[in-house]
């Protein structure tokens, strides 16, 4: 079964097209990554386009992150289309939609108006939904449909939430402006605000894959091409998270109990759903998707308890963006070689596909929150805040669910890496060029756990402070 050669040459007679669109996309994403990197080290907060864009510490942290990850994804696709001519047929479509996705993602992160953040998040969904569809695959079409439907309904609820928040502001005598930097934090806390806040958290939770609106995520991450899965998991996820951060930073001070209760509840529920699903699945792409739900749950709990957890939460979020990009791109590579998503059919990866085996191994260590990765430190800080804040029941549930996830993930993934070979296999030697983007992500991931430059650390602290962190 495993002696079959990889499909690197493409089917005979496959449509070939120009490669220049993907070069253009790489160039654009490089420019965006450099520009946002320069922005991150600049001082002060900038208000642009009549106040619709705000370059504050949150935007300065997340813009370079999403642009760097997208640069890695675009470089990975560039490598693929150069060696697999059959992929060039729909390259222009991919480039167009991916460019639209990234433009909207950047604008969503930099939005200073709640509704413009919502609007650009909708645009990322509209651009991403067609990207999920692979030629002739009904399963991917259904996955794309469910992604689009859940996103539309979730974002619709968030829009309704914003409308309720505006009414609440109006009812309390404040100006009903939804510009983030114009709403006075903590001022109103009437019933309209509470309903609005609950709906907004539910709506954004849908985009993050939080229970109960997570059903689209495993299917979408499983069926989408790996580059698109990485875009959803590492880029769009963070755009939605920034939107949620903006809501929390403005409305938490007036409604701390509601925010904590809702986020901690959906966080624990998501972790429970994820743990159960990881135990039962035999599909390694789905396992990674369920692990993403687990991450979203940890993030929701960290965000819910706040205070000192905020710094750990940010470490966890940034680390996870790299982890998910590494793991989903690697899973795509494994699937392309083994032609199966069944983890029982994959073994001895470290020998068969050394780079993929290495990335899967290190990525899984980071995924499980082992030292020296930022995810370890992040989780540790969140756990210590649970103890400090007196959330003992949450702490116990968190630890139990994390242990189940840890054991189930290790039991499933590690045999893929080191398991006894089931049949003789021959793969062509893996090129390091294909591994460069993932190696860069891995470097960033490891360095975050070992040493954080002072400028970056300051940025983390500023964002944590804006979210009510201590």
């Amino acid at each position: 079964m495993r002696t079959e050669r990889p499909r690197e040459a493409g089917p005979a007679g496959a449509t070939e097209g120009a490669v220049w669109p993907i070069w253009l996309l790489v160039a654009l994403s490089l420019l965006a990554a450099l520009a946002s990197g320069v922005l991150a080290v600049s001082h002060g907060t900038l208000r642009l386009l009549g106040g619709y864009l705000l370059l504050d510490p949150t935007a300065k942290l997340f813009l370079p992150l999403i642009n760097l990850i997208f640069l890695g994804i675009a470089s990975y696709v560039l490598y693929l289309v150069r060696i697999i001519p059959s992929l060039r047929g729909r390259l222009a479509r991919f480039v167009l939609l991916a460019a639209a996705f990234m433009a909207a993602a950047n604008l969503a992160v930099a939005s200073n108006h709640f509704l413009s953040n919502w609007l650009f998040l909708e645009l990322t969904t509209l651009a991403a939904a067609p990207l999920l569809i692979r030629d002739g695959t009904r399963a991917s079409l259904l996955a794309s449909w469910r992604y689009f439907l859940f996103s539309s309904v979730g974002l619709g609820l968030a829009l309704l939430g914003f409308a309720c928040l505006a009414r609440g502001l109006e009812a309390s005598g404040s100006a009903a402006s939804l510009f983030v930097d114009e709403v006075v934090p903590g001022a109103p806390s009437g019933l309209w605000v509470k309903v609005g806040l609950a709906l907004t958290l539910l709506g954004y939770g849908t985009k993050l894959g939080l229970a109960p609106m997570y059903a689209w995520l495993p299917e979408a991450y499983d069926e989408a091409p790996p580059s698109v899965t990485a875009m959803l998991a590492a880029v769009q996820f963070n755009c939605a998270l920034v939107g949620l951060f903006r809501v929390i930073q403005v409305f938490r001070p007036g409604n701390p109990e509601l925010v904590t209760a809702q986020l901690v509840t959906v966080g624990l529920l998501s972790m429970a759903v994820s743990a159960f699903s990881i135990v039962t699945t035999k599909n390694y792409k789905r396992l990674l998707a369920y692990a993403s739900i687990n991450h979203a749950g940890v993030i929701a709990i960290g965000l819910g308890v706040g205070k000192t957890a905020m710094y750990g939460l940010l470490l966890y979020v940034v680390s996870n963006a790299f982890i998910k990009a590494i793991l989903f791109l690697t899973a795509g590579k494994i699937k392309a070689h083994y032609h199966t998503k069944d983890m029982r059919e994959v073994s001895w990866l470290i020998n068969d596909l050394p780079y993929s085996g290495l990335f899967l191994m290190v990525g899984t260590f980071a995924l499980l929150g082992l030292p020296p990765f930022g995810s370890f430190l992040g989780e540790l800080i969140i756990l210590s805040e649970l103890i400090r804040g007196g959330y003992f029941v949450v702490f116990v549930a968190f630890c139990v669910l994390l242990t189940v996830t840890f054991v189930a993930t290790g039991r499933s993934i590690f045999p893929m890496i080191w398991g006894e070979p089931k049949a003789k296999a021959w793969w062509p030697p893996q090129s390091f060029k294909a591994a460069i983007p993932k190696a860069v992500f891995l470097g960033a991931l490891v360095s975050m756990g070992l040493y954080l430059p002072a400028t970056l650390n300051d940025l983390f602290r500023q964002v944590a402070a804006s979210l009510g962190g201590q």
Binding site: S116, A139, G156, L160
Partner: protein, 207 residues
């Protein structure tokens, strides 16, 4: 205005009693047109905001979206019947309970009563009915109609707000997003026709 709101609620509930896909599309169309009428009732549409509302509600939601979906469905020649809810008494009782709940909740949110409270109640009821349909149905067309009905309910809620805090560029952007969503929805309805076979199981498709 109250008569228009009552008409909106009737139209929103119509597909649960007259279960054909044509009724569902007619109901969507009437919802958009009724909301456009509500805009006109407030006075002549002289401001850019009012004009945008008229185009969004009357033209896009009232005419374009249902017509686009009608053309796709007509080409597919699906069965006449297209349930918006599971056809049993429990579903209908749940729908009735949700409408009652929406009215009670609106009473708590807007204790002053009057038209504002009715608008909140009707939009909440229409939203809950749409969500119930989305939660209980698996057909792509029915879900697409449910999503559009939910969008209409949210639009009605925004219309009922007295202030209007949304800046014009954002409203314009939202209208464009809705237009793009309708286009994409119609593509999915075309690509995933109702007579298609059973959906592939997630785990089973791993091989």
């Amino acid at each position: 205005m109250t008569a228009l709101l009552a008409a909106f609620l009737t139209v929103a509930a119509l597909p649960y009693f007259m279960v054909t896909w044509r009724t569902a599309l007619a109901a969507l169309s009437l919802q958009g047109l009724l909301m456009a009428w509500m805009v006109l009732e407030r006075g002549p549409a002289s401001s850019p905001e009012a004009l945008l509302s008229l185009v969004d509600l009357g033209l896009v939601r009232g005419l374009l979206a249902p017509i686009v979906l009608y053309r796709v469905l007509e080409a597919q020649r699906p069965p006449r019947r297209g349930d918006a809810l599971l056809p049993n008494m429990l579903s209908l009782a749940t729908a009735a309970a949700l409408v009652a709940l929406a009215f009670r909740f609106a009473g708590r949110l807007e204790p002053g009563g009057g038209e504002v409270q009715t608008a909140v109640a009707v939009s909440a009821a229409a939203l809950l009915l749409a969500l119930l349909s989305l939660a209980t149905q698996t057909g792509v067309f029915t879900q697409a109609v449910g999503a559009l009905a939910a969008e209409n309910a949210i639009a009605l809620f925004e219309l009922g707000a007295e202030g209007g805090s949304t800046p014009l560029p954002v409203r314009l952007g939202a209208a464009v997003v809705f237009l793009l969503s309708v286009w994409l929805l119609s593509l999915y309805v075309r690509w995933l026709p109702p007579e298609a076979g059973p959906e592939p199981a997630g785990e089973g498709s791993a091989a």
